[in-house]
Each structure stands twice: as structure tokens, then as C-alpha cells.
């Protein structure tokens, strides 16, 4: 006789996390979804009625800004993720293979240090560097290399630079853990069998680190597409993302119902991308359902 039907007492330890998840994600999301199908707040307004008009407003997009905002959000998320991966992977690989404990600790501190400062502060720091009267443009103009300031800010470029700086540590920390667990002898075996450094990396280390790439990319992508402060401050008028539109709807247009619909749409589109990404990477690595 087995007692597999009975949950282990240890399983109860996840109860607080489960409760938090239900209280602070499932319930608010359910309320937000319900609100997105109402004309107003049904709790305070007895005349509020069920409607799909908020979704129609987005889908029909007669204003001509919502689809562009969604595409802009996803584009910023994808580019930030790719650049963070390209910067983060070599750094994570170097850290994971570092023999010196002191060296590892110092690099780890260097990676974590920026996270000790708030996102707003870091974004303002980027503003002082990239704006028209910022450090870079002022220096280049003083040296006579340019006459007019380079467009480093108030666009997607500046937004992505600041986002990459903010989210690279998340990529590095995720990748370091995974790469550090890959048995170095596998790479050495490949090389002893005649593979060059590059081939050993591409055919052994890289596929084995795919779970880390997947986890790090998803983390950075999720954080980038939901970023609000950085695109608002760095993007000027040339960047309009869905989180900015949602904040507008709640904070200044006072239309939480449409904001709810935008939130649901952003989540559904992101989920579709995450599922597709997961499947592609799973196929590439020959495994199934890595995440």
C-alpha cells in the first residue's frame, strides 16, 4: 500500500507562497479582467453594464496609436533581451569559469552593485549622460567633433540603453548559475576529440546552457515589456508603450476599464510569445518543456 495520495508535510511550506500568489496576482488579475468587460466600476456605479467596447477600441484602433504602442512595447522588450543576452552571456561564462574566489566575488559585486540603486536614480543618471546637454554631447561638441547634439535620448535607442543597463544583472545572475553547473570536463572532452574552442562551445556548452538562456531571456523580456519609468523618462514623445498607455488611462484619463483591457491584451500577447519562445528553444536543445 502506498500513501502517494497524501501530500508531503513539506508541501505545506509552499502554502504562504501560494497564498501570496492568489492574493496578489490571481485575485487582482481576475478583478482587472472583470473590470475590462464593464463600462464603469460596477461596485460604485449601478449603471455600469457589460460590454466588449474596450477590446473593440483596441482592435479597431481608429485612433491609430494602440497597435503601434503594442508593437513598440514588444520591439523594445525583444531588443533589450537580445542585447542583454549578448552582453550578459560572455560575462556570465567568464564568471562561472573563474578559478579565483576573490575575483569571482569582486565581479559578482560589480554586477550586483547597480541593483543597489533605484531604477529612477539610474534612469536620471542616464539622462544626464545622454541628453542633448549631457556629458557625451557636450564633450563631443566641445572637441569640435559634432555641431549638433546626437539624438541619444528621447527615442527608442536611449530607452533601450537604459533598460539594458538596468536588466543585464538579471541576465548575468541567471546564466552564471546554469553555466556554473555545466561539467567543464565535457568541453575538455570535446576538445580532446579534436573540436576547436569555438566548436566545443557551440556544440557542448551553448546547448547545455539553453535553460539559463531561456530563463534569463524570459525574465528580462517580462521586465522590459512592463517597464514604465524608464521609457517615460528616456523616450520623450517618440516612445509610447502599453505600460505608459495603461498608466495614462488610470492616472490621467481615469478610465480603469480600458486600462484593464490593455493589461489583459499585454499579458495574452506576452504569454503567446513566451510559449512560442519556449517551444523553439526546447526543439533546438532536443528537450521538451524546459520552462
Amino acid at each position: 500500500m502506498t500513501n502517494t495520495a497524501r501530500p508531503s508535510p513539506i508541501a505545506w511550506l509552499i502554502a504562504p507562497a501560494g497564498l501570496l500568489f492568489v492574493l496578489f496576482f490571481v485575485m487582482p488579475f481576475a478583478v482587472m479582467t472583470a473590470m475590462s468587460f464593464y463600462s464603469g466600476n460596477p461596485v460604485t456605479n449601478p449603471n455600469a453594464f457589460l460590454t466588449t467596447r474596450h477590446y473593440e477600441r483596441f482592435i479597431l484602433d481608429t485612433a491609430g496609436i494602440f497597435h503601434e504602442a503594442l508593437w513598440s512595447t514588444l520591439r523594445i522588450g525583444l531588443v533589450t533581451t537580445i542585447v542583454s543576452l549578448l552582453i550578459g552571456y560572455p560575462l556570465a561564462h567568464w564568471m562561472a569559469r573563474m578559478q579565483s574566489r576573490l575575483g569571482h566575488a569582486l565581479v559578482l559585486m560589480a554586477v550586483i552593485a547597480p541593483m543597489l540603486t533605484g531604477i529612477v536614480v539610474r534612469t536620471f543618471a542616464w539622462m544626464t549622460i545622454l541628453q542633448d546637454k549631457g556629458v557625451i554631447n557636450t564633450t563631443l561638441i566641445q572637441w569640435g567633433l559634432i555641431e549638433k547634439p546626437l539624438p541619444l535620448m528621447y527615442n527608442e535607442f536611449g530607452t533601450i540603453v537604459a533598460l539594458v543597463h538596468i536588466y543585464v544583472p538579471f541576465m548575468v545572475l541567471t546564466l552564471t548559475g546554469v553555466i556554473g553547473r555545466i561539467d567543464e570536463r565535457l568541453e575538455q572532452a570535446a576538445r580532446s576529440l579534436g573540436a576547436g574552442r569555438l566548436r566545443a562551445f557551440v556544440e557542448v556548452t551553448l546547448p547545455l546552457s539553453l535553460p539559463g538562456i531561456l530563463a534569463g531571456s524570459l525574465l528580462v523580456f517580462a521586465l522590459s515589456i512592463s517597464a514604465y519609468v524608464t521609457p517615460s523618462l528616456m523616450g520623450g514623445t517618440n516612445v509610447l508603450t502599453l505600460p505608459m498607455l495603461i498608466a495614462q488611462q488610470v492616472g490621467t484619463s481615469f478610465n480603469p476599464n480600458f486600462a484593464g483591457a490593455l493589461g489583459v491584451i499585454l499579458l495574452l500577447v506576452s504569454l503567446a510569445i513566451v510559449v512560442a519562445y519556449n517551444r523553439i528553444l526546447a526543439r533546438l536543445s532536443g528537450e521538451q518543456g524546459m520552462a
Partner: protein
Amino acid sequence: MISRRKALRAGAGFAALATVGAPSILHAQTKTLKITTWGGKWGEVMKATVLPAFEKEFKCTVSADQAFPFLPKLQVSPKNEPIYDVLHANSNEQWNAVVEGLVMDKITAKEVPNIADVYPYAVSDKIVGVTIFTSAIGLGYRTDKGLTKPTSWKDLADPKLAGARGGYLIPVNSLGQAHLMMLGKVYGKGLTDLDAAYKALEALKPIKLVDFTGQMEKMLLSAEVSMGVIHDSGVYRYEGANMQPVDFASPSEGVLALEQVLNVTPGSKVKELAFAYIDYMLRPDVQKQLAEAVWYSPANKKVKLDAKYDAKLLTTPEKVATLIQPDWKWYNARREDIDARVTKILKG
């Protein structure tokens, strides 16, 4: 028979109970007024002196929320038990609130006696609630860039200012919205001439846009822009601080009013106290203290400011006459279309 020791012990126990119970009894008797108010220097003065004096005089406690935006919080609270008793907001938000039945549509001198002493703009048909202060929206400019002091709103369109002029993200900032209406007046038939306004807005590109006034102040101070739309208090407050080369200009077509409006929620359980608070905020001494702290023009005609403030703020009927009050009810009704249109114009 009760011994002395027993009597003392019983007495001590009773005293202890009374001590523990007293605060809750006191609390039950003390009314709490829930208000919204700004942060920064305004919030400092309110918390340090203005609110404690009100609490002492009216034997109440004031719970002040400084975490903007306030209206979404009021929207989700029950109407018969609102999260605030007094909503302090700019005029456009008060109009949003009144449409949803979240604030009262009219307050008169019957409820707030000091209303009898305010300038007409403070309770005009463009206002719901009572204006306690106003700022003038005009043009802020750098005095070290060889610019002549602007005299017209059209000066912002000077080709020399391409890329060095500043405005606001219109969907999120009421100064930007008011400026858009002013463009309709200056270049077209009036504040509601949106076609003329859109055309004039297009001509202002390239323009640096920000979403709140504090950012515009920083852009002016750092010379990121040489001229920008801003309220007078956003420039005057730096007077004397490291001799900043910035100044404020009132265009000849008139300045736009940025009113600080107080209103009472219909479901408030302490309405009398709420009206008393508005009346208190309109008292000349309170008005003077706050006006000089943050460079706001007082709504009460009887306020006598120190010469330095009196020279620059709107303290006479003649100066007040230059104020233009936008019709926020009209604007808010068209807001979705305007937001979409200006976003498209200013993007790219």
C-alpha cells in the same frame, strides 16, 4: 472590611485601566478629516504649521494623502464612505470627479463664508468647488541664451528654438492640455478651435516634451530647453537660489490659470468639518503663509503679500483679469479624440 492595601491596589488597577482606555475614548470623540494635498515645499508647510493649527483649533485630526494621483483612489472607494472628505486637485480633475458624482458641484458662501472675499475666477462657472490659489501658465525662458523676453505665445515657435523648446505630453499633463487650447486661441478662432491648435502644435516640432512640471523646471535649469511652457511658481521658486538664469514671461494674449481647487465629497461623514477646512484655507493669514512659501497667487482678495511676492503674483483685479480659464468640461468630453490626435502629431 477593605484593608488599606486592598484599596490602594484597587485604585491603582482602576487608574491603569483608565490610562489604557483613555486614548481610545479620546479617539472616538475626535473627528478625522481625510484630505489630499501636494508634497514638496507645500506639503512641508502644511504638515509643519497649517494642519497642526487647524487640528488644534477644530479639535480634530487630519489625515493627509500626498500620494498622487488621487482621483483613481476616490473612484474605487464607496460613494457613501469616500476615501477623502476634501479633494485638493487641479481644475480639470475636479471636472472629471464631478461628472462621476465624486465631488459636490457647487460650494457657496453659505457653507464657506470666506468665499465672499475671493476673486470671481475662484468660483466662476469654469470651476467646480473653490479655488484657493492659482498659478499663471506662461513661458519660462533662459536669460543667458541671448533671447529677448517673450511677449507672445507665438514666440515659442521661433525657428531659433527648434529642439530647444519645451512642452508637455498632452495626454498626461494639464499644462499641455491648456497650452493646446491656447494655441487654438492664438492661431485660430478661440480656445476650442482644435484644428488651428493641431496645426500650430505640428509647427512647434521639434519640441522636447515632459510629463510633469518638475521635469520642465529641471530642463530649464539645465539649459536642456531655452524656453518652455510652465507656471510662474515653477520659475519664481528658484529666485535667489544660486542666481539661476531663468525667468517667467506673461504673454500678451493672457496667461492660463492653473487653479488649486478644493472640493468636498458628497458622501463625507464630516461635511461641516470639511467646509470649515476650506474656509480655513481661505483665511488671509493661511493664504499669505502658503502663497509666500510656494509662490502661488492667493484667491482671497484681502491677502496682503510682502512686496517681493506682491510684485510678481496675481494680487490685483487688473492682474487677475489676465487669467484665462479653460473650459475643462468641454475638453474632458473630447479627451480621447484629442489624446489620439496629439499623440500621432507629436510622435516621430
